[in-house]
């Protein structure tokens, strides 16, 4: 069975995809949002601090209007800022004067900072605004905020280490990735549980269908839910109901049919017994009758016998239909049995017994009946033409074959000759009922064998009884009584 795996895989795939897309989308949005918020917060803090420093702290140190680097050093401003975690660079170049050239910085890390700033930052600082830029300084993410000291003093650039933002965002990303993995695992497990929930009733329905296929017409799919599957199961069960009801009606009809045949043949038996006894007395005296009625009397006798054969064959078939037959197995020397029947029933038929006796377990009365019916059939269709009987071993079987040189049977009708009331050539009504081979087939089946028919080269028909050598092994032991 391939489809349950398919459904499971598809369901799992869909759930995993859904979870993955959701996790990635949410993760991206969350990181971007948090990243932006952290940067904005850091920037706002830095700007507030810078404004405070420039307007409150720097003026408080009483710097001269044109401070020299030494003035800056002496004021201790840079140390103050550094203690708050902020590196500072003071640009004195914009102030003019011989003493006012150069920069003062709190750390070597700030070498060349001014050159690396985007051009508009110093420009805006020069115009007296606060300006900022994000820069990597010696591998550390940093925020630079610049502004002028009040009264056109030197330009201060405050540099803050904002690597913590990156670390925080990285941690967030890791946390989200782990969360996404957990969600995926949960999705897979959910897919399994859901798939099992969906597939369990389907598998149960499959088993039910298999049981029905094997002949258990009472098998039904349990209806346990009110969903689509429940209504499907209900419809399936209604179909099975209809099917088994139809089959039951057909079987009933067939049973009644057969019962009727059995009853009719049984009822016919009493008048038939009188007829047969009467005819048997008349037969001996047909010659003494006046010529006008002699022929009619002879026909009467013959027709009574035909009727007798027909009724007896119908009753025999009825017993098979009622399973009233049982097999009595004995050791049978097939060659000897065939020779006995040939001598009694068809002395003109040729038969050469097998060189070494073939002995099997079989019911000798049934074998006699089958062979007798074969010979009757050959006699009826082949008349005086030669009839041959053969006994051969073929693999694990013993084959008893009767071949005639009659008109034969068209290949497409060969199978039908074992059906009841089959007459291959309706114009040749003959004397037989058309039940002989059907009866033979029933006897053969009862012993675990079967019949087959085939055409012959040069015309004629060959009918074979194929019997397993190990009859007892091919029958259920309960059917057999061994004498």
């Amino acid at each position: 069975m391939h489809w349950p795996r398919g459904v499971r895989a598809r369901l799992a795939g869909a759930l995993v995809l859904l979870v993955a897309v959701t996790a990635v989308g949410l993760g991206l949005a969350a990181t971007l949002f948090v990243d932006a918020r952290l940067h904005a917060q850091a920037l706002a803090d830095a700007r507030d601090q810078a404004a405070f420093d420039l307007t409150v702290i720097v003026p408080g140190r009483q710097l001269p209007a044109h401070p020299t680097p030494d003035d800056i050093d002496r004021s201790g401003l840079l140390v103050t800022f550094q203690q708050r975690g902020v590196e500072t660079l003071v640009d004195l170049t914009g102030l003019g004067g011989p003493a006012g050239s150069g920069v003062v910085q709190s750390s070597d890390a700030l070498d060349g900072l001014l050159e690396r700033l985007p051009a508009d930052v110093p420009a805006r600082v020069g115009r007296g605004e606060l300006a900022y830029a994000w820069l990597d300084i010696r591998g550390t993410r940093s925020l630079v905020v610049g502004g002028l000291a009040p009264g056109g003093g030197p330009a201060f650039y405050f540099v803050r280490d904002v690597g913590a933002i990156e670390v925080a965002v990285d941690q967030l990303r890791t946390a989200l990735a782990i969360g996404a993995l957990v969600a995926l695992v949960i999705a897979l497990l959910t897919a399994r549980v859901v798939a099992r929930g969906i597939l369990a009733p389907i598998e149960e329905a499959g088993e039910t269908a298999e049981r029905i296929e094997r002949g258990d017409l009472q098998a039904r799919v349990p209806v346990t839910s009110h969903d689509e599957f429940g209504s499907w199961a209900d419809r399936f069960n209604r179909m099975a109901d209809t099917l088994s009801e139809t089959i039951r009606r057909l079987e009933n009809a067939q049973h009644q049919n057969r019962r009727f045949v059995a009853d009719v043949s049984h009822e016919l038996r009493t008048p038939l017994t009188a007829l047969v006894a009467e005819a048997s007395i008349v037969r001996g005296d047909v010659g003494k009758l006046p010529p006008e009625s002699r022929r009619a009397a002879q026909m009467l006798v013959d027709d009574v016998n035909r009727l007798r054969d027909l009724v007896e064959e119908l009753m025999e078939l009825s017993r098979f239909d009622a399973d009233a037959e049982e097999v009595a197995l004995d050791r049978v020397d097939i060659g000897r049995l065939v020779e006995t029947v040939r001598a009694a029933r068809s002395p003109k038929a040729t038969f050469s017994p097998p060189a070494t006796p073939i002995v099997i377990d079989a019911d000798p009365r049934r074998l006699e009946r089958i062979l007798g019916n074969f010979l009757d059939n050959a006699k009826e269709h082949a008349g005086d033409k030669s009839v041959e009987i053969e006994v051969v071993e073929r693999d694990d079987d013993v084959v008893v074959a009767v071949s005639d040189r009659g008109p034969g049977v068209p290949a497409d009708r060969l199978e039908m000759i074992f059906d009841r009331f089959t007459k291959v050539d309706p114009s040749r009504s003959g004397g037989s009922s058309g039940l002989g081979l059907a009866i033979a087939a029933e006897h053969a089946a009862l012993m675990g064998g079967y019949l087959q028919a085939m055409g012959r080269d040069g015309g004629g028909l060959r009918i074979e009884l194929v019997m397993p050598k190990d009859v007892a092994g091919s029958l259920r032991s309960g059917d057999v009584t061994v004498t």
Partner: protein, 228 residues
């Protein structure tokens, strides 16, 4: 042969034509149309043979056979409508010696009747000395069997004839066909179930444990033999 035959058959046509056929063959025939009348007739006269339909009104044929067997070993031939093993077995177990299947031809019936009568004549004239089979002593002239220490065993004529035949050929396998020929007088293919049923009934009476026969043995694919 002017043997006297009692024919018990309920269907008037069958009864009449059978009686005609038997009369034509030289037998004296009395008829009865149900089991009760049959038993009354049997009690009122002496018959050499009884022809008995199984399906009879009032008292059925099996019951009639059992009733007759209480007092007589007269040969009983059953007329049976069905030839299922069960019918044949039940008929023979009720005490019948042979059966004729319906529908039958009159010559066929007469042949069976003559065979049964011949058997009576032959076994009545049997004066051979007594036989032994294991613990059984058999006296063919007196038609009695006794088991050592147990006394006499009641057997029907068929069972007795079968026992004598097997005992006379002790150690020798007798095929069903030859037994049918010798005991029942079938000179053509007869019904071997007659033999099987009769052997079964005989075993039930003479064997210590009929399920494990020690006196009359089955030889698979061949027939039966009595131990030597």
């Amino acid at each position: 042969m002017d043997a006297r035959i009692l024919l018990v058959e309920d269907d008037p046509s069958i009864r009449e034509v059978t009686a005609i056929g038997l009369a034509n063959a030289g037998f004296t025939v009395d008829t009865a149309d149900d089991g009760r009348a049959g038993l009354d007739r049997f009690g009122a006269a002496t018959y050499d043979l009884v022809l008995l339909d199984i399906m009879l009104p009032r008292v059925d044929g099996l019951e009639v056979a059992r009733e007759i067997r209480r007092t007589s070993i007269v040969p009983i031939v059953m007329l049976t409508a069905r030839t299922d093993t069960i019918d044949v077995v039940v008929g023979l177990e009720a005490g019948a010696d042979d059966y004729v299947k319906k529908p039958f031809e009159v010559p066929e019936l007469i042949a069976r009747v003559r065979a049964a009568l011949r058997r009576v004549a032959r076994s009545d004239g049997d004066a051979t000395s007594s036989l032994r089979l294991g613990p059984l002593s058999i006296d063919p002239a007196g038609r009695t069997v006794a088991r050592d220490g147990d006394g006499e065993i009641a057997l029907t004529r068929t069972e007795f004839d079968l026992l004598v035949d097997l005992a006379r050929h002790a150690g020798q396998v007798l095929s069903r066909e030859s037994l049918l020929d010798r005991i029942w007088g079938y000179d053509y293919l007869g019904d071997s179930r007659l033999v099987d049923v009769a052997v079964g009934r005989l075993r039930a009476k003479v064997e210590a444990d009929p399920a494990v026969p020690e006196l009359i043995l089955t030889v698979r694919g061949a027939g039966y033999k009595a131990v030597k």
